[in-house]
Structures are given as structure tokens and as C-alpha cells.
Symmetry: C2
Subunit: 360 residues, 2 copies
């Protein structure tokens, strides 16, 4: 069917097992029937385990950004204030989305490659007093930085009466984020990152208080109207035609994850990331992020002076069959990013390091 | 892999060829790389042929409803007036979406199963004077009714300075809608209807004047921001991670369609629908829609008094392996709907009629 299969070391989409790929060959069915209801419920039950929640799970046929759009438009009304740490492309987008929805985004800013300190965030929250929601990008896919204080941030936000929304699109499954325990109201994850399914679906955990809020509020969007998804969900349906083959694949990938166990998968991500950072430094290369805030799932590395981004990645691909990503925004051409997610193993890390060493 | 393969006679999703299913097994690739750019451009070129346009084509990872959401939020600003014929579930939703975006929907209403007359629409347009956009659901999937005056409606709307948006989600490919010739600014189609790919992608044609309008206006939504899709499109990318396997399948399905030829596919739909309506009436059953406004792709049939919708469709499925859909809104339990789209053949129509005859 296809040319040689490559080793995908992108920060999503990532390598997908044969078993998950094959699941997409299951037959087309009626999405208003029993078989689909059972498929959807299976996805929801298995995801609840990953979100560590007893709340509901909404399955959207969209990318992760669509999931965050839903998380903003369902909560933010004109005049509402949201606090948003901004430290890369995706958190920047998130603050802008709050503004598109008519809200005011109170940005707690730090440079690309760094992260706002918890003290800075707490200062902004204290100064704000009551506010509507805290929007946290847990893992900045654009810079390889992960926030280390999700639990504490959720606590202070709740103390100020705010909803807590976490963009864990590229981290959940590689990190443990116990949503109920930490008080996370909405957590968003993409199908194509640590869960290792193909792209096309976003999963949202929805706490009881969010459920009450959205059911009691008029909708602002149709495609992303969470109340409608929750209502249809009670009978095992989605309001709009689902991306069925991706649902099949996601269901299988979640089964794979359950078989491995969440804790084991998290540990594997941790160990692979440690090996990757260690190897990168041994090659004399410099990770973008300080060791205290480094992401476990996206490893961003600065190019040595004079390296051509396009040439390096082309050579890695054509000579070694390994695909990594370039940099974003101010890091474009200056940084490459290695995904360390999903089915990643220490062997994949070794192969990647050996190839990087030859091509750099 | 799966149980016996069923004959899917739903008004979408529909039967998908083995060849298109297999395309989903192509490898995961970087959506910021050359291979993806060539995939996207292939989809766009082949769709332009179906839309009969020299404008751009935007490919969204969403259902058709997501496509219509994009068509509303990118054009309608608070205070704008849109004229919307309302004659079923999907046109009702569309009018509501105009209102969610802050617009005023001038509804031209007729009962479920009928269609507003052209005179009524023209009257509303004349009364309105200048307005922002005409939103036409070409084919009401919920009732099996198709509007017969898209070209004339587009003409009068343009005469009043309005944009023309056509929801052809369940009809394009089964009908010919020459967008440029008729002056349709945005036309929306779903992957899982007459194109016969799996669900998960919506295609939008975008006329030059819409392109100018959206590029000159601040965005109102992020996930559905057409200007961003057009900008990324120039370098063969989508702004957000695409539902890659569905893109592969859609590309293959569009190739299949090109091989058959648009005119031949349209003719096949016309002939199959004629055979289906004829057969239904010979069984003594009554199509919902009057013969002048009957849809060629969705055949809605009234149950004889006393038929149990659930039992009938269950028997059709378990005894004959044929899947049809139930009714919507006021037609729930009173009507069944047969999809006549995509790969439909006269043989499939015969099998369906024979099975309906036994089960009714």
C-alpha cells in the first residue's frame, strides 16, 4: 500500500499500532443505532479512567484546537474574565480565543521556552479577585515546556470561584492528571498524541459543575455546544455525524492503553524523555527548556549555530526514515522538536539520537 | 475483522468501497510536510471539479454541520440579516446558527415535508431589500425534500447584494450544482454522502468575493476561521491537525468519482432515485414529499398506519442486512428514510425494495 514505514517522532500525530490502524477497517454503521452507542460508551468509559474522573466525557470530531474552542465558547460570556498563562503558540492562541468569545484574557506572560512562575500566576489571581475561569496549557507543544503546578493552580483558581480548564492535548497519558482530585473542570486531550490513535478526535472531561453550568446556559455555538453533546450522550449518540473510523481507532487505542495501564504508560514516557534529554545533552546539544520545566512528551532542542533546519530534517527523513518537527514562531528555523509520546520506546529514542548525531 | 457487511442505505454515512477503506491504512505523516501538501492539493483540485468552481476549496476536519457553522460565523456579524428558507430539521438549525452568530434570520417557513415556494422566497427577499446572505439548504436530509430553484434564488439574492450559501451536504455529487455559473459563494458538502468517503470531513467552496470578505474581516471563531484556512492552504497545510485517515479516504473517493465522471454519477443518482420512488409507490407506500420537490438522494417514506418504526428497521437489518434511517422531529416514528447516494446502484435499490416489501 505505502512506501517504507517511517519512525514518526513528531509532537503528534505519532506512531500508531497496526492493530489500531486495522480498527479503521470496521464497517460503516448507523451513528443513531445500538452498535454506535456501544462504541461511544466504550470510548467514554475508557477515557474516564485516563482523565481519572467520574464526570462525563465528550467526544468531538475535531482536532484538539476544536476541543479548546469548545472549552472556551461554552464558559466565556461577554465581559467574563479568564486568567491565561501565555508562554508559547498554543497558550497565545488560547488567550485570543477567550477574546473572540467576548471575554477578557488576563495574560500571565513569559518568553517562548520559559514558563510563568507559580508566584506570578498567584499574584495575577490575587489581584483579579473573582474571575470566570483559569485556562492552563499544561504542555506547550510549541516550545517543549510543561507547567509544573497544575494542581496548585487549580486550587487557587477554585478559591477565587473560577472554573479550571486544562489543555492537556499533548500530555495526558504521558502525564497523570487526576482531574477530580485536582479539581480540573474541563481537561482536553487529542487522539493523536499520548493515546496513539490517528488524529481527528478531541476528548473533553466535563465536571459536574460544568455540566450544570452549560445545561443552564443558552448555547453560543452549535458544533461545539457541550450541553447538546451531554444530552445526546445519554442515549449513546453524538449530536452530529461522528468521524466513525477515528472513533473505531480511538476505541482500540484506549484498549491498548488500558492493557498497558495508565501508570505504566506514564512511567514509560518519563523514562523515554529522560533518555532523550540525556542523549541530546551528550551530543552537545541544548534543550530549549530549563530542566525544571522540560516537557516529558515534546523535546525541543536548539540547533547549533549555522544548522539549516530544512536540510537537517530532510536528511533525517531520507537517510534514516525518522520524522521530527521544526520550531514555531520565534523558534522557527532555530529549534527542532522531537515527540516522545504514544508508543515511544527506549529503542526509538536510541535510533533517533543516533540519527540526529549523524545529521546535525 | 467484522461481522457480515451490511448494505448501508442511510442518508449518510453510506457504503464505502474497499479501495477507499484501504486508503485509510496509508502511513501517518507530518501534516506540515510535502506529502501532506500534495494530498491536500489533490483533494482541493478534485473537489473544485465537483463544485464546478475556480474559487478555493477549504477542507475542515468536522461534520457537515461544522462546515455550515463555518459558513455562518465567517459571514454574519451582529445586526446582519440573513434570509433562510426553513422546511426541516437542518434548515431550522441553520436559522438558529445565524442567530447564535448575532444575526437576524428572516425565515421563509413551510411544513416538514414541503418546501417554501420560489414566490414566497422572492417575496421575502423583495420585502427585505438589501441583506447580508441567503442561506439555502438545498436538500433537507430530514424530510427528503430538495429545493428546485437554487439558481434563481442565487440570482435574486445577488441582485439584493447578498452572499449566497448553499448547504449541499447530502446532495452535491448526486446533483450538479455549478457554483460559479449559478453564483453560489459558499457550497458545503460532507465526505460521507454522495462522495462515498467515511464521515469526518466537510468541504467548502469559497468564491473570490468571500475570500476578499473574510480576509478583510477580523475572525469570529478560531477553529472555523476561513481566512486562516485559506492562508495555510497556499502552502498546502491546514491550520490545525487534520483527520489524516479521512483525508486519505476522501482523496481516494474523489478519484473514484473523477473516474466515473460527475455527469455519470449524477445520472446514476437520478435513475436510482426514480427506481426507488417507483418501487415504493408500487408497494402502496407514500413518499413524504410531493413528486415535484422529491429529493434524489434521500427518499423519505410514510409508514402505513400501525407500523412500528423500531421493529420494522430492526427486522430489515437482522433479516436482510439492510440499514435505513428513522424520521426526524414531527416525523419520528412515522417515516423511514432511505439514502440513495454515493455508490448506490439499481441492484441495491431492488434489494432494498424487496426487503421493505417483506418487512412492512
Amino acid at each position: 500500500m505505502s512506501a517504507q514505514k517511517k519512525l514518526i517522532m513528531l509532537p503528534g500525530p505519532t506512531n500508531v499500532s497496526e492493530r489500531v490502524m486495522r480498527a479503521m477497517q470496521k464497517p460503516i454503521i448507523n451513528h443513531r443505532g445500538k452498535d454506535f452507542a456501544s462504541l461511544l460508551r466504550g470510548i467514554q468509559e475508557k477515557s474516564k479512567h485516563i482523565f481519572q474522573t467520574e464526570g462525563e466525557v465528550v467526544v468531538l470530531s475535531s482536532s484538539g484546537t476544536g476541543g479548546m474552542e469548545a472549552a472556551v465558547w461554552n464558559l466565556i460570556r461577554p465581559g467574563d474574565v479568564a486568567v491565561v498563562p501565555v508562554f508559547g503558540e498554543f497558550s497565545q492562541r488560547l488567550a485570543e480565543t477567550v477574546e473572540l468569545a467576548g471575554g477578557t484574557a488576563v495574560r500571565v506572560v513569559s518568553d517562548f521556552g520559559s514558563a510563568p512562575s507559580f508566584d506570578d500566576l498567584e499574584g495575577a489571581v490575587m489581584k483579579q479577585g473573582k474571575f470566570k475561569a483559569l485556562y492552563l496549557v499544561h504542555n506547550e507543544t510549541s516550545t517543549g515546556v510543561a507547567l509544573q503546578y497544575v494542581q496548585d493552580a487549580a486550587r487557587i483558581a477554585r478559591d477565587h470561584g473560577a472554573f479550571v480548564v486544562v489543555d492537556a492535548i499533548s500530555s495526558l497519558g504521558g502525564y497523570s492528571i487526576p482531574c477530580d482530585k485536582w479539581g480540573v473542570d474541563v481537561c482536553v486531550v487529542g487522539s493523536q498524541k499520548c493515546i496513539a490513535a490517528p488524529p481527528g478526535v478531541a476528548l473533553l472531561s466535563v465536571s459536574k459543575r460544568i455540566e450544570e453550568f452549560v445545561k443552564g446556559s443558552p448555547p453560543k455555538t452549535r458544533y461545539f455546544d457541550l450541553a447538546r453533546y451531554l444530552e445526546y450522550g445519554t442515549r449513546g449518540e453524538t449530536p452530529f455525524t461522528p468521524a466513525l473510523p477515528i472513533f473505531y481507532a480511538l476505541d482500540e487505542a484506549l484498549t491498548e492503553l488500558a492493557e498497558e495501564g495508565l501508570a505504566t504508560r506514564v512511567k514509560r514516557h518519563l523514562e523515554c524523555a529522560a533518555a532523550l534529554y540525556d542523549g541530546v545533552e551528550k551530543l552537545g546539544l541544548k534543550p530549549v527548556a530549563d530542566s525544571k520545566i522540560r516537557s516529558r512528551t515534546v523535546v525541543a532542542v536548539a540547533y547549533p549555530e549555522g544548522t539549516d533546519d530544512g536540510e537537517f530534517r530532510k536528511k533525517l527523513d531520507s537517510d534514516h526514515g525518522i520524522v521530527v518537527a521544526g520550531g514555531f514562531g520565534p523558534f522557527k528555523g532555530k529549534v527542532f522538536r522531537v515527540g516522545c509520546m504514544g508508543l515511544v520506546t527506549e529503542d526509538m529514542v536510541k535510533r533517533t539520537l543516533a540519527a540526529v548525531s549523524e545529521c546535525i
